[in-house]
Amino acid sequence: MCLAIPGKIMSISGNEPFQKIGKVNFGGIIKEVNLVYVPEAKVDDYVIVHVGFAISTLDESEANRVFEYLKEMDELGELDQGDAEN
């Protein structure tokens, strides 16, 4: 139920309050998404969408965190076997 999927904003329309609507591309499927809760979102941003509403703008600078964390563990020597496999 709390399923939310990232998609890329293709265009934004509507300037009325509560009517900021975006066309959002989810891997080729384009849907209209209500952007009222992400006032900062702009075209080409990725937003995380739940039941027709964007609930956050995806922070692309944090998107690689899960891989950087592995790298940091490597550097700290917490992943010796992982090193051997690379």
Partner: protein, 361 residues
Amino acid sequence: MKYIDEYRDAEAAKRYFIAITELITKPWTIMEICGGQTHSIVKFGIDEMLPPEITLVHGPGCPVCVTPVELINKAIEIASKPDVIFCSFGDMLRVPGTDKDLLSIKASGGDVRIVYSPMDALSLARKYPDKEVVFFAVGFETTAPANAMAVFQAKEQAIKNFSILVSHVLVPPAMEALLSSPHNLVQGFLAAGHVCTVMGLEEYFPIAKKYNVPIVVTGFEPLDILQGIYMCIKQLEEGRTDVENQYTRSVRQEGNRPAQELIKKVFKVVNRKWRGVGEISRSGLGLQDYFIEYDAERKFNVSNIVGEESPECIAGLILQGLKKPHECSAFGTKCTPEKPLGAPMVSTEGACAAYYRYRKI
């Protein structure tokens, strides 16, 4: 798809499994709160790959699963009325009430419709002004901004033939209820990434402190979950009980402020009953007085309807992490996704449905 596929990388997953195995020195029990996380864990076999010291228990974060039978009965009563268009997310249609489910109301001619968003239900209300359109507003904090917006817009636009049957629940009071139970086994939590996307981290600091549990806000893809488990185990091994954020690409410390503001405007915190668990104080949302005309329970006068759960269904124990689905005598025999006894077998996020679908038990 970008921002999904990369978090399913097998090589990186293997490195996380190795890191977790090297880190762990004793047995730990961790609960993933959200049913979406449970689904990923079981689907990708994460629990079966982890070292045996780790026990993952599946939490109550499946709104379909925790909606009590009496609310299903109320939904059925409303949906059976002539001139009602009853709208719901698809999962709710097969959840059994005392005698029947919403799907059987649809089969016998009731106007029950599956919608993608509460805004679709509001559009139907605009389109059919001579009908009463009711939306079954189930969900955790993640879904509250959408439901709040539907009600807010209905009021703004003076749409009178729209209402919502509210079954909104909140994560932190459920965590506290679990942690205060004498049967509690949980030593650390993976908190629900999308709930925290909306609400932020603030509510979790006092829980971590009061109950001495690490809480790691975690995403939903396999690498997210593995990193969340690693971070949680690291805290447990080091004796720390902090709130940490694994899902930083979506979750900000303060959450989504505009969404929180509208939730507060439309909803207030109320006591709620949870299936198999009972009433938990201040664990849900109900409409503020200013929006009370949109409360379907009042509009259709169904407040008195009650309901008893199937005595055979152990959903309450499953939702508290005290039993695993396959430990239920009805699992896969008397209770299947086609003919469920309880909600966790219906919802795609339910632990029972996940085990039925992905485990050969």
